[in-house]
């Protein structure tokens, strides 16, 4: 599904990612953990295709395509989804309108006709209910005056409606209370299947109690320094980043 080889990335001449390798197969959930400034968010932006990041070396293959050759919207329509740590506020654009435009953009890209209004309304309603998002919120401007938790739920709603093949969750747990964390995790777990994969980026092991990963990677200074299974997250919780990174 996703194959990152020897990735080197810099921003304004500053090297952030320094030879990162990561391979995610269909149906797998990978967790990426690391301290502040280790390159976690940079990796998520690079995967989604945000500009101003300089790819100095390496390759990223996604679904047998060269990911780096695709524009941001093409990557999204090919099934790559990034749930943002800080979702943008879009004043003047109604949330439901945004969702509908996103869904129809993808359908157009795939050569399908637009989703009819009734079908869309049904889909949105059922997905929103799963995430405990009320109807009133869908009529509001996208992310404007949303609480931190509501913004994160909105990201997961977008994800579940677009049903991506490869979803990257960038610190989706930050700013969530226990209840919201459970609801969001359930939303993610519902999407888990043999067909799609996840990369869950987080500081804390807590999220992984809810979303059990198949693999855990620890990133430090732009490289993956240790990989293992779920027990690595528990070990990390106990020992901290510094000790784990040292022993690696």
């Amino acid at each position: 599904m996703l194959e990152i080889k020897n990735l080197h990335v810099s921003i304004e001449e500053k090297k952030i990612i320094k030879g990162l390798n990561l391979s995610i197969n269909k149906g797998e959930v990978h967790a990426l953990m690391g301290p502040n400034g280790s390159g976690k968010s940079t990796l998520s932006y690079v995967l989604s295709g945000k500009d101003k990041y300089e790819i100095d070396d390496g390759t990223i293959e996604y679904n047998e395509k060269n990911l780096l050759e695709l524009d941001v919207d093409e990557r999204a329509n090919e099934g790559l989804f990034l749930a943002f740590q800080y979702p943008m506020e879009i004043p003047g654009v109604q949330t439901s309108f945004f969702l509908k435009t996103a869904i129809n953009s993808k359908r157009k890209y795939l050569g399908h006709s637009e989703m009819d209004a009734l079908e869309f309304a049904k889909l949105m309603k059922s997905k929103a209910e799963e995430l405990n998002i009320n109807n009133e919120m869908l009529k509001r401007d996208l992310n404007v005056n949303y609480s931190g938790g509501e913004k994160k739920k909105q990201e997961i709603l977008q994800m579940s409606m677009l049903s991506p093949k490869m979803a990257i969750l960038d610190e989706t747990d930050s700013g969530l209370d226990i209840d919201a964390l459970r609801i969001v995790s359930e939303g993610v777990n519902k999407l888990r299947s043999k067909e799609n994969s996840f990369l869950v980026i987080t500081h804390y092991q807590r999220l992984l109690n809810y979303i059990k990963p198949d693999f855990v990677h620890i990133i430090a200074d732009g490289r993956i320094v240790k990989s293992g299974d779920y027990s690595l997250a528990l070990e990390l919780e106990e020992k901290g980043y510094e000790e784990i990174s040292k022993s690696a």
């Binding site: 989604s48 295709g49 945000k50 500009d51 524009d71 941001v72 919207d73 999204a76 329509n77 989804f81 990034l82 943002f84 979702p87 943008m88 879009i90 004043p91 003047g92 654009v93 945004f98 435009t101 996103a102 953009s105 993808k106 890209y109 977008q158 677009l162």
Partner: protein, 366 residues
């Protein structure tokens, strides 16, 4: 009879003095540096020779005749105060339109329909509207493909307790110089929306006088213009407890220049005035320009007045967010532009008119 003659004499003397001053000192065709016309670049379209030379007595009489048609009470007219209707800020457009054009009156109380559609580009005269009934009337003023040499004036006299909605489509004009004057009597309301698109050289002046407890909303939208698009507003609160709300939005591209200059004037007795003025411009490229100049002039001490102005470009991070959800950048930009102007379209209260306006604007939005 004798009294009338005397009044005529006083009137023409005052009018002469008044008109001469304005046509001389406030003449943007003669002097490019007049503050109120600073960005309008009127000299670019200078063809109006009569606006450059000194005018003769017969022309002054025409102004005088025109002005007397604008007021119901000739005694008021004789006073200097009424001639200088707008405190030290009377419009050259007003005077020159009265010099060059006759003025016709339309009584909106006699209109049977709720909506009145009027194409002013087909009418050579200035137009003076009266409204005194409480019926809701939507007046749709169309101005299109004009190539006017002289300013044209549209006056609104709204009597006590009356109200009026005006929608002005100023579209595809080569040259158009319009003066709107709204006189709101006690407890009256005027909602004015002006759409401007696909023009080459335009200036619109919006002058309004507000009396006791009346309310004036003025919304302007400039999109997809070429050349110079200039908007000037002067709103004077003369009596207590009136409110005005002004929002102008412009999307400027392809080397166009869009200007907004607006002043709120609050008289010393106009306590409890509530005035709001905002102009926002979205610049889409590096060769276009937006000039915004909001002003307040307040002589009362118990008022609420605010103004603001912004110039920005489309937010790259917002576009990235759209793209990350599969929406291409062309579509994202279009949605963001629509979002920027939505407030103006939503200010139209009548559902049918709002849909009608929205369709026109959508077809003009590139």
């Amino acid at each position: 009879m004798e009294l009338t003659l005397n009044l005529d004499k006083i009137q023409s003397d005052n009018v002469s003095k008044y008109a001469k001053t304005i046509l001389d000192k406030q003449n943007p065709y003669k002097n490019f540096k007049i503050e109120n016309y600073k960005y309008a670049q009127l000299h670019r379209d200078i063809k109006s020779e009569t606006l450059l030379r000194d005018i003769d007595i017969s022309e002054l009489l025409r102004i005088s005749k025109n002005i007397s048609s604008l007021t119901s009470n000739p005694v008021d007219l004789a006073s200097d105060l009424n001639l200088w209707k707008y405190k030290n800020d009377d419009s050259f457009f007003r005077v020159s339109s009265l010099l060059k054009r006759d003025t016709s009156s339309i009584n909106l109380d006699l209109i049977d329909d709720k909506n009145l559609f009027l194409d002013i580009s087909q009418i050579n005269e200035n137009i003076h509207f009266f409204k005194s009934s409480k019926n809701v009337i939507n007046l749709i003023i169309m101005n299109s493909k004009s190539n006017d040499e002289y300013p044209k004036s549209i006056f609104f006299d709204i009597s006590n307790d009356s109200n009026l909605n005006v929608i002005h489509f100023n579209i595809s004009n080569y040259k158009s110089f319009l003066y709107f004057e709204s006189n709101l009597q006690d407890n009256s309301h005027l909602n004015f929306v002006s759409f401007q698109s696909d023009n080459i050289h335009t200036r619109n002046e919006f002058y309004a006088s507000l009396n006791l407890e009346c309310n004036f909303d003025l919304f302007g939208l400039n999109i997809n213009n070429y050349g110079v698009n200039d908007n000037y507003s002067f709103i004077q609160h003369l009596k207590p407890s009136s409110s005005s709300r002004e929002i102008f939005k412009s999307i400027v591209e392809k080397g166009a220049i869009t200007n907004f200059q607006g002043k709120i004037y609050v008289d010393s007795i106009a306590q409890k005035t509530d005035g709001y003025q905002m102009s926002r411009s979205l610049l889409l490229d590096d060769i276009s320009k937006a000039n915004n100049k909001p002003e307040l002039e307040i002589y009362a001490d118990d008022v609420k007045c605010s103004h603001g102005s912004t110039v920005s470009k489309l937010d790259e991070d917002q576009i990235y967010y759209f793209k990350s959800r599969g929406i291409d950048s062309e579509m994202a930009k279009k949605i963001l532009k629509k979002a920027f102007i939505a407030e103006i379209i939503e200010s139209i209260k009548d559902d049918n008119l709002r849909d009608y306006s929205n369709n026109i604007i959508e077809s003009l939005l590139t």
